[in-house]
Amino acid sequence: MKLHEYQSKFLFRDFGIPIPQGKVATSPNEAYDIAQELGGVVVVKAQVHVGGRGKAGGVKVAQNAEEAKRHAASILGMDIKGLAVERVLIDPGADIQQEVYLAITNDRGAGKPLIMTSMEGGMDIEELNRQRPDAIVREHVDPIMGLHDYQKTYIASAMGMPRAQWRSFGRILSGLYKCYSASDAELAEINPLVITGDGDLLAVDGKVIIDDNALFRQPALTERRDTSGEPDSERQAREAGITYIKLDGQIGCMVNGAGLAMTTMDMTKLYGDEDGIGPANFLDIGGGASPEQVAAALRIILSDENVKCVLFNIFGGITRCDEVANGILTAYNEVNPDVPMVIRLQGTNAAAGNRIISEAQIPHIISAETLTEAAQRAVAAVKERS
């Protein structure tokens, strides 16, 4: 779960990290009041869950409250990569001497938290990593012991942080590690961490992503979820306990198991790509899905107007194919899809499941024995209807 910039920075503040004294506005008038209160130059920043808002015109400097109001008016409601801007952060302008990059993330290969930091902050870390990988200091943290104080000295020294800032940088590093750790974050990033003309450090921009699997113990953070950037269908699926991701193709996929669901997508593309045909979604109904869940999943798939065919690929292991077949029939009767459905049931009780489907004598239903056959038939069905 992503936090907005303002949410991330307010969270940093809870862990003792200095941030600008800005506030969030949802209207130009509010922006005016905040800018007035702050006084001087302010920055008006769009709060959306996409990168590149600066290039899109979502970040603007204002010399006074009147200008802040005008900027807010132009940014609020702006469309950035398909997302409407609902909030702007009004931050006081900072006296930037130097921009530093500082982040803590999960290094999955090492199975440890990884601190990445560089005196060349401001730019995207992936960009920096491509251009000047040696400018990034990387330090693992022992997940059980946590961050040692001596590591802070090592990092500050290795990155070339001026000595005058070691102490305050160390405090921020401790604070960020505590924040990352206490919030079950996958990423806690300050970019830029600014050294001001007075030699102070200030987290001017921030990004935090929380591990979805840990939200059960993060009630305060869970409340802050902003689903405005999420497609309706994905939100509905999430609420129904189904993993669904909308894609651009024409073949709706309903599969049990994440790996097999990806594979099924891949097969539709393998056989359909030359005709511009591919998967309309990722969907994993999980093990032992009920007829109600199958129906809900089917409705979600069909809510996508691009879908020209639905492909069921169920490998019955513990799941019994006859039960899934009944679920499909129930769902079919409830949802009444007007697109063809390719059904491939394999594994436990596959014969019985296929018999149930064929005996139901439903038009638009196409059987398949192997995944290859199923994918090929789904592609053919889409071609027919195009």
Partner: protein
């Protein structure tokens, strides 16, 4: 014994009185696995299908002399359950549980390493040595005994491939589901190494997916240290970047972890990579 388990494995099921734990414990016993008991805190003294239930792993191990544990408890209890097994002296812990926070797993993996306990998973279907024992949820029907080792991040995709192999008359030495989470106890390389050293394994099938770089590291191992042929499939060629495809670990992030780079690395290492998992039996023939 092929690798990791054979019919002599003495298995405890943590969460045996739960719906999932009990269901699979029964199927394991039907398959011939020696399930010697289970653990559910607060239910010590009960019985499950003729096997004793204990309050703690310490008491369970002391009584049954078990050497493998299967963790089937809910996500918020799973980290503690794995460490409990390790502390009780269990040297092989297999964890099925999905949705364990990554921060828990980072601690648990470090903990198991220090204890010398091998952890398989979490979020995996388990381990099966066909004809001998299965520990986990892999269906009995997807494999027959043979000489191909299978290692996979995924559940049903593995069944699909196993089943296709069976239909082509190809048997399996051991199936190891390592799980699709970002941080796991046992990696592709760990299992490849075991297969390389296992006299009963002649070839290996590797089923990977997008996300992380475990397959790249595996390719490196295949290139430098493996003599046995490897056939592979990588799921997620059609997955968009930045989206988590069901498995917590299945995400192409910052240009890293794409199917293309994994396929290229594996092919460069000499593995034969299938575009369609149903081609795997052909590549192994």
């Amino acid at each position: 014994m092929s690798i990791l388990i054979d019919r002599t494995a003495r298995v405890l099921v943590q969460g045996i009185t739960g719906r999932q734990g009990g269901f699979h414990a029964k199927l394991m016993m039907e398959y011939g696995t020696d399930v010697v008991g289970g653990v559910t805190p607060g239910k010590g003294g009960e019985w499950f299908e003729g096997k004793p239930v204990f309050d703690t792993m310490r008491m369970a191990v002391a009584t049954t002399n078990a050497d493998v544990s299967l963790v089937t408890v809910p996500a918020r209890f799973a980290a503690d359950a794995i460490m409990e097994a390790a502390d009780a002296g269990i040297k092989l812990v297999i964890c099925l549980t999905e949705h364990i926070p990554v921060s828990d797993m980072m601690k648990v993996v470090a903990f198991c390493q220090r204890r010398g306990t091998r952890l398989i998973g979490p979020n995996c279907p388990g381990v099966m040595t066909p004809g001998q024992a299965k520990i986990g949820i892999i269906p009995a029907m997807v494999a027959t005994p043979g000489n191909v080792g299978v290692v996979s991040k995924s559940g049903t995709l593995t069944y699909e491939v196993g089943f296709a192999m069976k239909n082509h008359g190809i048997g399996i030495s051991t199936i190891v589901g390592i799980g699709g989470d970002p941080v796991i106890g046992t990696t592709f390389v760990d299992v490849l190494e075991m297969f390389e050293n296992d006299p009963e394994t002649e070839k290996v099938a590797l089923l990977g997916e997008i996300g992380g770089s475990a397959e790249i590291v595996a390719a490196d191992y295949i290139k430098n240290a493996m003599t046995k042929p490897v056939a592979a499939f990588i799921a997620g060629r059609s997955a968009p970047p930045g989206k988590r495809m069901g498995h917590a670990g299945a995400i192409v992030d910052g240009g890293e972890g794409s199917a293309e780079e994994k396929i290229m690395a594996l092919e460069a290492a000499g593995a034969r990579v299938a575009a369609n998992p149903e081609e795997i039996p052909g590549l192994l023939a």
